[in-house]
């Protein structure tokens, strides 16, 4: 009976591990534990499209535009990886308000929400400038969709926002649950210059 139970437990594991292997020799990968979000696959997808080799996400307290200590640590780490510092070509910052990116129907969030996202971008840009004075920081407000002209001439803002939509970020009409909420978040990507 005991053997049967052991087999049953192993089979249960096999149900979601699919095969077996030599025990105790695998590399243990330790995740960094802090209160900030990890860079999501949507952030990485857009970073890959922008050829940005470094990307992170940070989270703001609700209603606040000030960087938390943990957010600063994330930004320090990001810029610390972007070496040598004079090879940083551009830093792209996308900041959300406390609500999801507006849907096609919503177009833009309230003025207060747009200002919140703008202030968050500014605070991130100011902090990045302290870390790397020469870095060119470009900010994008995720509380408003690009206007018709931006869409027509496919500005960088329009292309970035379209890429995020294709990657599946939630919007104000559809918090689909398949991609984590981006409300209150910011994505920061670093593009390095060619050598």
């Amino acid at each position: 009976m005991r053997i049967k139970i052991q087999i049953a437990v192993i089979v249960a594991l096999v149900a979601f591990t699919a095969c077996s292997s030599t025990p105790e020799t695998a590399t243990k990968i330790v995740a960094v534990n802090n209160s900030q979000p990890k860079a999501s696959i949507e952030a990485k997808q857009v970073a890959a499209e922008q050829e940005a080799s470094k990307v992170t996400e940070i989270k703001f307290d609700e209603g606040q535009a000030a960087l938390t200590e943990a957010a600063r640590v994330n930004l320090d780490k990001l810029m610390g990886q972007a070496v040598p510092s004079d090879r940083v070509e551009e830093v792209i910052v996308l900041s959300w308000a406390d609500q999801e990116y507006p849907s096609v129907n919503t177009k833009k969030l309230s003025k207060a929400q747009q200002q919140l996202a703008k202030d968050r971008s500014k605070n991130i840009a100011d902090y990045l400038k302290k870390l790397n004075q020469k870095a060119s920081v470009k900010t994008h407000n995720m509380a408003a969709r690009p206007n018709a002209l931006s869409n027509l001439i496919k500005t960088k803002d329009a292309r970035l926002k379209k890429s995020l939509e294709v990657a599946g970020i939630p919007n104000s009409d559809n918090t689909n649950g398949k991609a984590p909420s981006k409300a209150g978040h910011a994505m920061v990507m670093v593009i390095m210059k060619e050598e």
Binding site: K4, I5, I7, A8, V9, I10, V11, A12, L13, V14, A15, F16, T17, A18, S20, S21, T22, P23, E24, T25, A26, T27, K28, I29, V30, A31, V32, K38, A39, S40, I41, E42, K44, Q45, A47, A48, E49, E51, S53, V166, A167, G168, K178, P180, E194, E195
Partner: protein, 329 residues
């Protein structure tokens, strides 16, 4: 001239494509040039095995154009857009492509050098599909099908000063589950280095039964699976992890006719294991499988996998997203 060029070039292209590989034969139905756009286009491209003329590749169009944004900087580079590609793989195709005569990397390089001679800065794949069957002659419902595939590779043929190639792939598995893959590679480094992030959402286990039945000895009667993972390959060593999440999964069906006692035991065991390890509130069973592959040997710890499943059940549940912990230097 614009009208004459394709007529001269197409037979030469097809002669090359028919002879370049001992394993494959490619054919282009139509070839066109747009001088204004500085572009050329192949239409209805097919690929067959030389062995038995089995078709494994069909592409509606391949558009090759000058990358105007690079031209502004004085560089003549190209963008390639592949539309409606259908790639079909089965053991015959796999055996042929891994045979002694096959040299897929060299073959691909030959095709690239001859048909796309300039540096490729962007490759885009649109509205495409990939079908994989592990047995010859399987019906479509028993194949692993990835459709609505949209992919993009930036800096496909890197130069020394810009060494990293970036890629993203997105598609639907079995028509419903969303698969997202993204990563980067150092193509010029020896050995090549790359990293990759994977997420899959809403993989319907019941719909996948015809495929899963050949891999695991039981059938799912309900449930979906999400999968999160990262893999990195550097210095000939691959490390990574996979985090599968089963949602509301059930294995035993009261109407199920078991083939034999062994299958019954497996199904009971699977159901019991899932029951014991399912997190009550969220109805999820999850674990984390850390692995390492070196010199062709795959290593992971079954004990650690079990420990992770118990941790998810009894302690803090795993976060359903990638850990963002692996990246090439």
């Amino acid at each position: 001239m614009r009208a004459a060029l394709p007529a001269i070039a197409q037979p030469r292209i097809n002669k090359f494509l028919a002879e370049f590989s001992p394993v494959y034969i490619l054919h282009v139905e139509d070839f066109d040039i747009s001088l204004i756009r500085m572009a050329y286009r192949f239409e209805n491209v097919t690929g067959k095995l030389r062995l038995n003329e089995q078709e494994f590749l069909a592409i509606e169009s391949v558009d090759v154009s000058v990358a105007w944004r690079e031209l502004i900087e004085g560089k003549i580079h190209t963008d390639i857009e592949v539309s409606e590609m259908k790639l079909t793989g089965d053991p015959t195709v796999l055996t042929a492509s891994t045979s002694k005569e096959a040299a897929p990397v060299e073959d691909a390089k030959q095709v690239k050098d001859n048909l796309f001679p300039l540096r490729v800065t962007r490759l885009v794949l649109r509205h495409s599909s990939i079908e994989i069957g592990d047995v010859v002659g399987l019906g479509e419902e028993k194949k692993l099908v990835l459709n609505e595939v949209e992919a993009r590779v930036n800096n496909l043929t890197p130069e020394r000063e810009m060494s990293q190639t970036f890629f993203t792939i997105q598609g639907a598995i079995l028509g419903s589950a969303i698969l997202k893959v993204t990563g980067k590679a150092e193509m010029n480094r020896k050995p090549r280095a790359w990293d990759m992030d994977i997420e899959m959402h809403d993989f319907n286990l019941v719909e996948a039964n015809p495929i899963l039945k050949r891999m695991v000895p039981f059938t799912f009667t309900s449930g979906k699976m999400d999968l999160f993972g990262e893999i990195k390959s550097e210095n000939d060593e691959m490390v990574g992890y996979l985090k599968p999440f089963l949602h509301n999964a059930d294995i035993i069906d009261s109407r199920e006719h078991f083939k034999n006692g062994k299958q019954f035991l497996y199904e009971i065991g699977g159901a019991l294991g899932n029951f014991l390890l399912q997190r009550d509130k969220e109805k999820t069973t999850a674990t984390k499988i850390n692995f390492k592959r070196k010199n062709g040997k795959l290593d992971y710890s079954l004990g650690e996998v079990l420990g992770s499943a118990i941790e998810h059940k009894t302690a803090k549940p795993f976060t359903p997203q990638i850990d963002d912990s692996l990246s090439i230097e």
